[in-house]
């Protein structure tokens, strides 16, 4: 979606955050929390074990995912995604055309989400070891 043509930055952005939401939900539910239909990453993290809090505390990646991801990203067009990033204040100072801007911001979001997801997965794996 991100590296292979045709690039789908909307789907890459959406799925990056969805992966984070999924691991947070898994940890929260395992921790005894009830499911709810909201998509707030900080709220889901608040229901997770303290080991994950300690792991993402002070992390730029967590900050970036919370700042940029939205469950409604999947409904956007390419132009919609560009407008969304710009309204949030992203892409300023990035060189190149609009695709370069969307690609750059999307890459940062995907990288940040990957890092947070790995931390969540590490907590999950350590909690399910027998």
């Amino acid at each position: 979606m991100f590296d292979k043509k045709p690039h789908d930055y909307v789907l890459a952005s959406y799925l990056a955050g969805l992966a984070v939401e999924s691991i947070l939900q898994a940890l929260a539910l395992q921790n005894g929390s009830a499911h709810d239909a909201k998509h707030s990453l900080p709220n889901w993290l608040s229901k997770c074990p303290s080991a994950l809090h300690d792991s993402v505390k002070g992390s730029a990646e967590w900050n970036e995912v919370v700042a940029l991801w939205d469950n409604g990203l999947r409904y956007l067009s390419f132009d919609g995604l560009l407008g969304y990033f710009r309204k949030k204040g992203y892409g300023k100072g990035m060189k190149g055309g609009v695709e370069s801007i969307v690609r750059g911001v999307t890459k940062n979001l995907v990288d940040a989400a990957e890092m947070v997801h790995k931390k969540g997965l590490a907590v999950w794996l350590s909690s399910t070891k027998k």
Binding site: P42, A60, D70, L76
Partner: protein, 84 residues
């Protein structure tokens, strides 16, 4: 609002313009969530976290710091702009 939560906001307010508090009090006395300030405009995510930690390390005890959860530091635009 729990004691630690109040203390965090009291420490941050003088340093962060237009501070909005969206922190949560969690079981066990832990505090995590989101804070919003225009002071974070044009700051990288790492710089925001560095700023937060610097302020809080100066004002919280070791026990209070260990009860601190993840705090996302956002700009007003990051909070208000929604995808749809």
């Amino acid at each position: 609002m729990a004691q630690l939560h109040k203390k965090i906001i009291r420490l941050l307010r003088p340093h962060l313009k237009d501070l909005q508090d969206a922190l949560e009090d969690l079981p066990g006395g832990r505090v995590s969530g989101v804070i919003v300030s225009s002071a974070f405009n044009s700051m990288s995510h790492q710089l925001r976290q560095d700023k937060l930690i610097r302020i809080l390390k100066d004002g919280l005890t070791d026990d209070e710091l260990s009860a601190l959860g993840a705090i996302a530091a956002l700009t007003p635009a990051e909070v208000t702009v929604k995808a749809i």
